[in-house]
């Protein structure tokens, strides 16, 4: 049982890290980035290509993250401009449709150029004992990365001036503008940050399971569900939801198995939303 729960936590931290990038961008500007999973795959494939070219992991990983960040920057400065000129539901709808298009473009591009490329980072060394359970090193390193990223984000929003400015935009865009915060700059920064977070998922997840060219849509859907269950805009909510759903997933896989596992997972997500429409840690607008 402990082993199952620990596996669930390892899985859940990955899901949380995936959801965080999506939740930040949505909380800030109302754009539901339906290409978030594709961002992760994009970074992973860049790294895989660089590794194929015999570059060291320590060069490939930063390069992959930089590419994901640049992708975020380019999209924010081009496609998201007309989106941010809209308000309310119009903005949400145009944002998610454009990002859906972007996701399809990334998917199509990667499947066309590198159909069989995949990233799978092997962490050397044998299993490590955690609470008496032997755990694979890859999963632990991935979890450590997710936890570090989560802690860094938490600290950033709580203690840095820019982080507080970001929270002020999440709470009230017009109010923030009146206080001298430029929502445009904040949004661009967070979009880039979200690209980096997606790239991180690409790396940390590939330590337990390979990231393939076609993984994008599945990752996006997971990110969406985690972000909504956690409460859109909430960093800690995304991690909480990720860990909760991760544990539900491994426990039901262990005790029930077969196709019902996924249904249990989805039902848990749906029920959470139905009973807490603002998400676990979200604020009702």
């Amino acid at each position: 049982m402990t082993a199952v729960v620990l596996d669930g936590i390892v899985l859940g931290l990955q899901m949380g890290l995936l959801g965080v990038g999506l939740t930040l961008v949505y909380g800030l500007g109302g754009v539901l980035n339906l290409a978030h999973g594709q961002f992760a795959v994009f970074a992973a494939i860049v790294i895989a290509r660089l590794l194929d070219a015999d570059l060291s992991l320590w060069v490939a990983i930063p390069a992959g993250l930089v590419c994901a960040a640049l992708l975020g920057l380019v999209i924010d400065l081009s496609l998201m401009r007309p989106v941010y000129r809209l308000r309310g539901e119009d903005r949400v709808l145009l944002g998610l449709l454009l990002m859906l298009g972007v996701g399809t473009i990334i998917d199509g591009l990667l499947e066309w150029r590198y159909p069989i490329e995949a990233l799978s980072i092997r962490v050397p060394g044998g299993p490590v004992s955690v609470l008496g359970v032997p755990m694979r090193r890859g999963g632990l390193v991935g979890s450590a990365m997710a936890l570090t990223a989560g802690a860094a984000l938490f600290g950033f929003f709580r203690f840095s001036t820019f982080g507080r400015a970001t929270r002020s935009v999440i709470q009230d865009e017009d109010g923030a503008r009146l206080c001298g915060v430029n929502p445009g700059t904040v949004r661009t920064t967070i979009f880039v940050l979200s690209g980096i977070l997606a790239g991180l998922v690409g790396i940390s997840r590939s330590m337990t399971a390979p990231i393939e060219v076609t993984s994008g849509v599945g990752l996006t859907i997971t990110a969406l569900i985690v972000a909504v269950v956690g409460g859109l805009g909430s960093v800690s909510g995304a991690f909480l939801a990720g860990v909760l759903l991760g544990i539900v997933s491994t426990v039901s896989a262990f005790y029930i198995g077969s196709y019902i596992t996924t249904i249990v997972l989805l039902a848990t997500a749906a029920l959470t939303i139905v009973f807490r429409p603002s998400g676990l840690l979200g604020h009702r607008p």
Partner: protein, 329 residues
């Protein structure tokens, strides 16, 4: 005197209300004349009509009352699978099986709608709950092999050697379905329910204060739209003679239907038709590009949405009304 004016006015409004449907139906009725020789083209075109029917059903739910149902495919699949299974296991006639399929889809859709409305979920949250439902349905179809055939799907023999088995006759059956849906959409729009839909879409709080039962009308929209989806899915199952896990899958149905409807114009009568026609042609035009197709499709989506932000039909209408204002002023 006033009676004559009244009847003349009602005649013009009748033409204005239903003329576009007649026109669209007449144009679409000509399509098989050009393509009846090519079974593969007819398959694509019938697929386009099916998606048009889906888009109208989705338009009733999303366009009229703003409930983002990301389970178009799943509701159609409930109609399709239940009709096929009921027909196969108990031997009830095809038409009755289709009705049962539609009824089940309506029940499920109404329930989803009731949950979303009574918990006052907003657009995105309704979307994610229904998305979870969609994915659960997909897993159910894959998992319950004894009922649904799992990955291999099920063959449906009921319609073989009837007119549904052909290509041209089914085209007109689907066209008939689309026309019926369009008329139904217009009738609802002009009825008391339509006024309620408009009120609650414009300003939900004001509508509620004015005595519109927002919950009830949203659920009505959920039931009617889902019934449309279920019936369309069931008719398609009998026509195609085979349904599998990808026939109604989220990735194969919902994204296309959403893109079609938003491109054509949410909440407009002919938006779904225009969207389905444009994207069916586009899909066919990109076939030759094989592996580049998906990327080109994405580029087209981005470009089209940047260009026609409010949907093609509403954009055209606003251009027309602007021109009219100018000529009158």
């Amino acid at each position: 005197m006033s009676e004559i004016v009244e009847s003349a006015r009602s005649k013009t409004s009748l033409v204005r209300d239903y003329g576009p449907i007649v026109l669209a139906a007449a144009l679409l009725a000509l399509v098989p004349l050009a393509f009846h020789d090519s079974p593969s083209k007819m398959t694509v075109i019938i697929g386009g009509l099916l998606f048009c029917a889906y888009a109208i059903g989705f338009n009733v739910i999303f366009g009229s009352t703003g409930q983002l149902f990301l389970c178009t495919g799943a509701l159609a699949g409930i109609g399709g699978f239940s009709a096929a299974i009921v027909n196969d296991r108990t031997g009830v006639p095809m038409l009755l099986a289709i009705a049962i399929g539609g009824l089940l889809a309506a029940l499920v859709g109404g329930l989803l709608s009731w949950i979303a409305v009574s918990r006052s979920l907003d657009t995105i949250f309704t979307g994610v709950v229904t998305l979870a439902f969609s994915l659960s349905f997909e897993n159910f179809v894959l998992g319950r092999k004894d009922l649904t055939g799992g990955e291999t799907g099920i063959r449906i023999e009921a319609a073989s050697e009837t007119i549904l088995d052909d290509q041209v006759a089914p085209y007109y059956i689907f066209l008939g379905l689309v026309v019926v849906y369009l008329v139904l959409y217009r009738v609802i729009q002009r009825s008391q329910m339509g006024w309620a839909f408009k009120a609650l879409r414009d300003d939900e709080v004001a509508a509620e204060l004015a005595g519109v039962d927002v919950t009830r009308y949203r659920v009505y929209a959920g039931i009617i739209g889902s019934a449309m989806l279920g019936v369309a899915g069931a008719v398609f199952a009998f026509h195609r003679g085979f349904i599998g896990p990808t026939t109604y899958a989220f990735g194969d149905v919902d994204v296309s239907v959403l893109v079609m409807l938003v491109f054509g114009g949410i909440g407009s009568l002919l938006g779904p038709v225009v969207g389905a026609v444009v994207f069916t042609i586009l899909d066919e035009a990109l076939v030759d590009f094989a592996r580049l197709r998906e990327m080109l499709y994405g580029i087209v989506i981005v470009v089209l949405f940047l260009g026609f932000r409010r949907g093609l039909i509403p954009s055209l209408e606003s251009v027309r009304s602007k021109r009219r204002d100018r000529s009158e002023g």
